[in-house]
């Protein structure tokens, strides 16, 4: 009579155990596919939120070096009001300040389209010459604009799309309720779509035109931008401005940066709360796994022990079962969310981040994936899930075989 021993290789042994795990998962396919779907969904939602917020934060920070050093606003009665030219002179006197630039900007609400545009006034010749030319798609309306140079503007792609719908893509008629007649503004160009995330709702016009639309008198400005060459001094100069003129508010670049950092702090947001349901469902599943095995599963463990399987082999079966589920789910969930965010541009999720505004930027975000995040996903899901499943199996496996088989 032949006598078999531990003849198979270690690899074959593991493979046989994995085979058996997969087979027993397949036997309980309804339950396991439900777990898999929940698991994929959880990983998918978490990584989608991480991807989108990560990319948006990267977008925010991509231009952070070009931000003004200090922005100065005037507040009265808790509201921002126009700032006068006199401040502009006084701040320039503060030692360490290289230049002060007054800005004119504001919003224009177009009732017909229920759209909110950002109006920004500047000397457009700066964009029309030099390297800045590259960021604008210059339109054929250049001539028309030249006729009345103070009423010309460059608009963002989102604005252009909206104006096309009301046949005003070449020239837009501005009208404020207290005006007698509307003022036509020639549109001389559109900001390139690459800059869309910043320029989408912009109407950049010649200073005089902006002053007219925003109804600012001569010598009045929206805010001031202060240039401080030495970054060490910025905070101090901001403090000085505040102490000399308590009605002024300063926003330094460091402050904007720290606001950016926490901007899409998803933990504070809507997404987490909507995800709570998924998280709880997942916890219930984990609890279900951790709290015990069904009588059929216990019986199976008893049988395996009775025919000579070691406890550790039974545990490996259970480990492989949950490890395979969580591995497949997390890889699949992450890949799925990558394609969802960066190929499909996050339909459904992006609305949460851009609100109900009329001017939607198209969402071609540049992928930004943090390896630390992928590692985190693995640590917080795969490891606890695969280990927790072992405990009830271990409990069943160390119980007397006889006892399990008699009682189940």
């Amino acid at each position: 009579m032949e006598t078999p021993t531990q003849s198979g290789s270690w690899l074959e042994r593991q493979r046989s155990i994995i085979d058996y795990s997969l087979q027993s998962m397949f036997r309980r396919r309804t339950k396991n596919s439900l777990i898999l779907v929940m698991y994929v969904l959880l990983i998918f939602v978490v990584s989608s939120v991480f991807f989108i917020t990560g990319s948006l934060t990267v977008e925010l920070f991509s231009t952070v070096d070009e931000l003004p050093d200090i922005t100065v606003q005037k507040l009265i009665g808790g509201r921002q009001v126009v700032i006068q030219e006199s401040y502009f002179q006084a701040i320039r006197e503060i030692p360490g300040v290289e230049a002060v630039e007054p800005r004119i900007w504001g919003y224009f609400y177009l009732e017909e389209l229920q759209a909110n545009f950002t109006i920004f006034g500047m000397d457009l010749t700066m964009l029309e010459e030099g390297e800045y030319q590259r960021i604008v798609d210059w339109g054929p309306a250049l001539k028309k604009g030249e006729e009345r140079p103070e009423f010309r503007m460059i608009i963002g792609e989102g604005v252009s799309r909206l104006l096309k719908a009301i046949q005003m893509e070449d020239s837009f008629l501005f009208f404020q309720p207290n005006w007698d007649t509307a003022i036509p503004f020639g549109i001389i160009g559109t900001f390139k779509s690459e800059t869309q995330l910043q320029s989408n709702d912009l109407m950049v016009m010649q200073t005089e035109g902006a002053r007219r639309v925003l109804e600012l008198k001569e010598g009045e400005y929206t805010d001031l931008v202060v240039h401080v060459p030495n970054p060490e001094e910025t905070k101090m100069i901001a403090l000085k401005i505040r102490r000399y003129y308590p009605e002024l508010r300063t926003v330094t670049r460091a402050q904007i940066e720290s606001t950016y950092t926490s901007a899409f702090n998803w933990k504070a947001g809507f997404v987490l709360s909507s995800m709570l349901v998924v998280i709880f469902a997942f916890l219930v599943l984990i609890w279900d796994k951790a709290s015990g095995l069904s009588p059929a599963e216990k019986k199976e463990i008893g049988i395996l022990k009775a025919i000579g399987w070691d406890t550790e082999m039974i545990l490996s079966v259970k480990f492989w079962e949950s490890f395979i589920i969580s591995l497949l789910a997390s890889i699949f969930g992450v890949i799925l969310s990558y394609f969802y965010i960066y190929w499909l541009h996050a339909p459904g999720l992006k609305e949460i981040f851009i609100g109900w505004s009329t001017i939607f930027p198209s969402f071609d975000l540049v992928p930004h994936i943090d390896l630390k995040f992928l590692l985190l996903i693995v640590t917080v899901t795969v490891i606890p899930y695969s280990t927790i499943a072992i405990f009830p199996a271990w409990k069943a496996a160390i119980t007397d075989t006889d006892f399990i088989l008699r009682n189940n």
Binding site: T63, R103, T118, G156, Q198, E233, M236, L239, A263, I352
Partner: protein, 113 residues
């Protein structure tokens, strides 16, 4: 009949291929980013406004890093938040704002740190 572990192997292989597609795509998109970033920086330099124009629903959302703590309540203290974008944002960081009402000599620049 094929062994279960072979089927799992094939499934993993397909997933790996998908992951590879994603990784390749990731690097392609990142490479294209260099030119885009130049344009964005140029625009930022020319038009010094802050923030992304992804939330145009309300003033305090559009340039919210220029807003202060009272801005969200622009109309009256109980005014409703612009849902959902206003809910996703955390309030602007004002921890670093210098306190204006402070008597005595100004601290020297080194003290501020």
């Amino acid at each position: 009949m094929m062994r279960y572990s072979s089927k799992l192997g094939i499934a993993l292989l397909i997933l790996m291929l998908l992951a590879l597609v994603a990784v390749v795509d990731y690097h392609r998109q990142r490479a294209e980013y260099a030119d885009i970033i130049w344009m964005r920086q140029a625009l930022q330099k020319a038009v010094g406004l802050t923030d992304l124009s992804i939330t145009t629903a309300a003033r305090y959302l559009r340039h919210y890093s220029l807003g202060d703590l009272t801005t969200p309540f622009q109309d009256y203290p109980a005014s409703l938040d612009h849902f959902p974008a206003g809910f996703v944002y955390t309030p602007p960081d004002v921890s670093d704002v210098p306190k204006p009402i402070k008597f005595g000599p100004l601290p020297t620049p080194n003290e501020g740190k």
